[in-house]
């Protein structure tokens, strides 16, 4: 069932690419149908997989001479992230409903990207995983470069180069692991059991982890993220923040930590209190959390605020991974889901609902537009999304970030304390953006409000309402009932920690 998500998306992309260019409506509906079918498959697979461990979906020999198999499998972590991808793809298409320029190309690239993402989350063969990983990167470039806004070509190129440098690091690490293991298999499970020498893991781990973490927006390799997010068209920023950054984090977890667990061992000496790669990456994650939040606080462009907030929130994912305990890892996976939904929502509001109508993202200009009255839907959707992003209880972010903090606390208190600081700043920047963009400069009463000079911003269309509802319901459902995901995540994390899933 889950494997269908991949096939569907790629088939959809191919069909869309071949569509005549004068049928944009057909392209839209077709893309939506494919994405909904993918979501349905993801949901069905998720529900069917609750309570099960790792299930193999497809296992065919692919390149026998090198032991490479077309091995698709899913454990709790994969299922959760596949579900996230399904939700994000449907929402992304809904928020791209107003794309008129080369519509069929847009959705073809979009679905190709989605297919790659599904593939990464379901691959248990590193070669296959890497193939899907790269497939996901290329469409991003075109989505941003063709349909983007501010400095789109620069941002797209920057993103592509960062991504490929990261994947080059991953490839080098994986090639060496393959050569060192000599096991003649590229299955992640077989490689994890190959007993790679500790000294090898020690240098290979940081290489692969950094390679993946670049895409996860780890400080100081995060600079592609804000520019990329800002330049990207709405749906692409939603996907970038929503799922593509998760690819990096997922790779960190599944590949780097899964294959090279001893890479996290202490070096045997400590420098400035840093005694292992774990310390190094945890500190980078914490810096990312705090730095991202502080920079977000100082932005004048609405989308940059959200872009930097992604860096901050992804820091929580990385920190949770480095906590290396049950609760921290579960929190990290949950945070991947949560941030995927919430960031998608925030980008949708900023990019689609606000920017496409006001044609400015400068907070200073938005301040004068009385948006809370002219676009009450956007304002209130942002209020709720902002609450979710702040990590208020009742939304998915709270449980996830709390778990990460608890896990980090168990690992090293200072990490948790510093990350908590980032959380506080997180309240501040969302607050500031909310105030400035929607709720400033209101006149004393509604009656004498000067409405003259307000050009019509256009009504909120049904896809926007549908998309916002979908994302809001998702974050609320997980926030109010985190066990629907945690029941899947926790056993998988447990077996990963115990070495069974590595």
């Amino acid at each position: 069932m889950l494997a269908l998500t991949i096939y569907l998306s790629f088939a959809g992309a191919l069909v869309l690419a071949l569509l005549p260019k004068d049928r944009p409506a057909l392209a839209r509906w077709l893309a939506l149908a494919v994405a909904v079918a993918g979501l349905a498959a993801a949901l069905a697979g998720f529900l069917a997989g609750i309570g099960q461990g790792r299930t193999v979906l497809v296992d065919l020999p692919w390149i026998p001479s090198m032991g490479i198999r077309f091995l698709l499998a899913a454990d709790g972590i994969s299922r959760v992230l596949v579900l996230l991808t399904g939700i994000a793809s449907v929402a992304g298409i809904l928020f791209s409903w107003n794309i008129d320029h080369r519509t069929h190309h847009f959705f073809a690239f979009f679905l190709a990207l989605i297919g790659g993402v599904y593939g990464v989350f379901l691959s248990f063969d590193f070669f296959l995983l890497f193939v899907f990983y790269e497939i996901a990167i290329v469409p991003k470039y075109f989505l941003i470069a063709i349909w983007g806004s501010t400095r789109r070509e620069y941002a797209a190129m920057k993103l592509a180069i960062y991504s490929f440098v990261g994947s080059a690091m991953v490839l080098i690490g994986l090639l060496s692991a393959y050569a060192t293991a000599g096991s003649h298999s590229t299955s992640l499970i077989a490689l994890a059991h190959a007993g790679l020498p500790v000294s090898f893991q020690m240098w290979c781990f940081p290489l692969v982890f950094t390679g993946f973490a670049i895409l996860a927006g780890m400080w100081p390799f995060h600079t592609w993220a804000p520019t990329g997010h800002v330049a990207a068209p709405t749906a692409a920023s939603m996907l970038l923040a929503g799922v593509v950054m998760k690819l990096g984090a997922y790779g960190c977890l599944r590949v780097a930590i899964g294959l090279f667990p001893h890479g996290l061992d202490p070096w045997g000496f400590a420098f400035l209190g840093i005694g292992s790669w774990r310390d190094v990456f945890a500190i980078l994650a914490v810096i990312g959390i705090v730095y991202g939040a502080l920079v977000a606080l100082a932005q004048s462009d609405f989308k940059f605020v959200i872009g930097y907030s992604s860096v901050s929130h992804m820091g929580f994912v990385l920190l949770g991974l480095m906590a290396l305990n049950q609760i921290g890892l579960s929190g990290a996976v949950l945070q991947m889901f949560s941030h995927g939904i919430i960031a998608g929502l925030l980008f949708a509001i900023v990019g689609r609902i606000v920017y496409d109508r006001t044609h400015t993202r400068q907070l200073a200009e938005l301040e004068t537009m009385h948006l809370s009255r002219r676009l009450p839907f956007a304002a209130w959707a942002f209020v709720i999304a902002g609450m979710a992003s702040m990590g208020l209880p009742g939304f998915s972010g709270f449980v996830a970030e709390l778990q990460v903090l608890v896990g980090a606390w168990a690992a090293n208190r200072w990490w948790a304390i510093a990350a908590g600081l980032g959380l506080v700043v997180g309240v501040a920047y969302i607050w500031r953006a909310l105030q400035k963009a929607f709720f400033t400069d209101l006149q004393p009463t509604a009656e004498d409000h000067p409405k003259t000079g307000w050009h019509d911003l256009g009504a909120i269309a049904w896809p926007e309402i549908a998309g916002v509802s979908l994302l809001l319901l998702s974050t609320l459902a997980v926030g109010l009932w985190p066990r629907i995901l945690l029941d899947s995540i926790e056993p998988a994390v447990q077996s990963l920690l115990a070495g069974g899933g590595r």
Binding site: M387, V399, Q403, V406, V424, L442, W481, R483
Partner: protein, 507 residues
């Protein structure tokens, strides 16, 4: 338990109402009225179904996120149930008073109902996570109600309100995180058990070092902002004055009780001993709150600000009672225990009384304001008893209830508090009497300036309460008398809970 999740229903009911109100536009107020009536009925039902032993009734408990110690755990004792009734009454009054919302009434009433849901949720929660969720949930609608429908300086007032409360929340959250990290539990009853057997402090100390006192301070800070305790009160006068009067009714009548409730439900059960350790400074702050509140009220020229500061003053008595009773009493010392019980009974009664009375006062301000086109300066009126005898009479009664005239509700609560506090801390009690006196002077001044003297020109055609308003005010005034004459209907039910609570607090 009869299988019906009454408390969940109670919390969900206003949310459903809110969702409906959002789409009904001009009819939203009717939706809100129906919803709040229904809520009040359910709250009264809860009150009737309380267990006799003073423990928790109507308990609902389900797993939620076990790794985080989060459970869906609801339950009420008399304290919680009384707060539910108070919330329902105050919300009903507020909705009733808000018949002049022209701008986006659907949104307005949806927010009010969401706020009510937040109140219900936080008064029924027995798990920190759940409680905190609703604590925050009530904050956000309150912010927007001030921000979007408030007076001229509503922006800064709303922000100040939000920032203060949020800062308090962060302190609370951090403290609770520390408690959770040490004990692995977020459950109030479980943590209270740990605390009463002294294990909580041991676990915290073992895990984090000797920081229990600081955790207590963090929790207290969170509640101190909400109540408020001086010097964290500065957001209050602005917020109360700038908020539309119906919202102010909610803020003072119900939301301020969340802070006091939190002290009783969370701070004292978990950190009784720590509070005892810093009892003296806390008492000083309570006394300052009482006296300063009264004193500041005297200096105000704006009716809303007068009542805002007098609210600070009245809640100060609650704090006085709470901190005064935080002292270990030897097992055989019957009179000491009686004093504690009296103080606590008084605190709970005072919470309810102040809620109803203050809400009523702000309602009257709203009426006066509506009749004079926005005037509410204390010096802008005079002789209103002539054109509007009914209004003057009813408001007079409410003012006397507020200043604690025997026979009206305010007296009983304050009497019980002083009755309990004098033996426990006579200094604090004595100084606080000063506050009592100043309040009396302030409120009498209000009566004198507004209702007596010559009628200014713009008040000559001041219409009296019309029929509907009289009908609406009558039950409120009825409550003032009822509780003044027969406080037993509350104290009788609350007392077992008081005894139960006091038995668990190990100072």
């Amino acid at each position: 338990m009869n299988g019906i999740p009454v408390l969940t229903l109670l919390t969900v009911l206003p949310l459903i109402g809110a969702a409906i109100a959002l789409w009904t536009g001009k009819h939203a107020r009717n939706v809100a009225l129906v919803t709040t009536f229904a809520s009040l009925a359910v709250a009264l039902y809860v009150w009737m179904r309380l267990p006799a032993d003073g423990g928790f009734g109507l308990v609902e408990q389900h797993l939620w996120a076990p790794t985080l110690g989060i459970e869906y755990h609801l339950g009420v004792d008399a304290l919680g149930a009384l707060m539910l009734i108070l919330s329902a009454i105050v919300t009903l009054m507020s909705v009733d008073a808000a018949h002049r919302v022209h701008h986006a009434p659907g949104l307005y009433f949806a927010l009010v109902l969401t706020l009510e849901a937040g109140l219900f949720g936080s008064f029924t929660a027995l798990n920190f996570f759940h409680w905190f969720l609703f604590w925050e949930l009530s904050l956000i609608p309150a912010f927007f109600l001030i921000k979007l429908w408030g007076g001229a300086r509503r922006g800064p007032a709303a922000t100040q309100f939000f920032v203060y409360t949020m800062a308090g929340s962060v302190a609370l959250l951090l403290s609770f995180l520390a408690v959770f990290l040490s004990t692995g539990s977020m459950d109030f009853t479980h943590l209270a058990d740990l605390a009463s057997s002294g294990k909580l402090e041991q676990m915290v100390t073992a895990h984090l070092g000797p920081v229990t006192l600081w955790l207590a301070v963090g929790v207290l800070a969170g509640f101190a902002v909400k109540v408020p305790i001086a010097p964290f009160h500065t957001w209050l006068p602005d917020a109360y004055a700038e908020a539309p009067s119906p919202v102010t009714m909610l803020l003072t009548g119900a939301m301020s009780k969340m802070g006091v409730y939190g002290l009783l439900r969370i701070a004292l059960p978990l950190f009784a001993h720590q509070i005892y350790l810093i009892r003296t400074p806390l008492l000083v702050l309570a006394v300052v709150t009482v006296v300063m509140g009264a004193w500041a009220a005297a200096a105000q020229k704006d009716l809303k600000r007068v009542f805002a500061y007098s609210s600070v003053n009245h809640l100060g008595y609650c704090l006085l009672g709470i901190f005064a009773l935080a002292v270990p009493i030897a097992a055989g010392n019957a009179s000491g225990h009686a004093s504690q019980a009296a103080a606590l009974n008084g605190v709970i009664l005072q919470m309810f009384n102040h809620g109803v009375t203050a809400a009523a006062l702000f309602w009257f301000v709203a009426m006066i304001q509506a009749r004079t086109g926005g005037h509410r300066g204390i010096d802008q009126f005079g002789g209103l008893r002539k054109p509007a005898p009914v209004l003057a009479g009813l408001m007079g009664i409410t003012l006397f209830a507020s200043l604690g005239l025997p026979g009206l509700n305010g007296f009983v609560g304050e009497f019980l508090i002083f009755r309990g506090v004098f033996p426990l801390s006579w200094v604090a009690a004595t100084v606080s009497v000063l506050g009592l006196l100043i309040t009396a002077v302030v409120l009498l001044t209000v009566i004198q300036k507004v209702f007596w003297g010559p009628v200014p020109e713009h008040c000559a055609a001041f219409p009296d309460l019309h029929h509907g308003e009289r009908m609406a005010m009558a039950p409120v005034i009825g409550i003032l008398f009822l509780l003044g004459l027969v406080p037993q209907i509350i104290v009788g039910v609350v007392n077992p809970t008081v005894v139960n609570l006091l038995a668990h607090w190990k100072f």
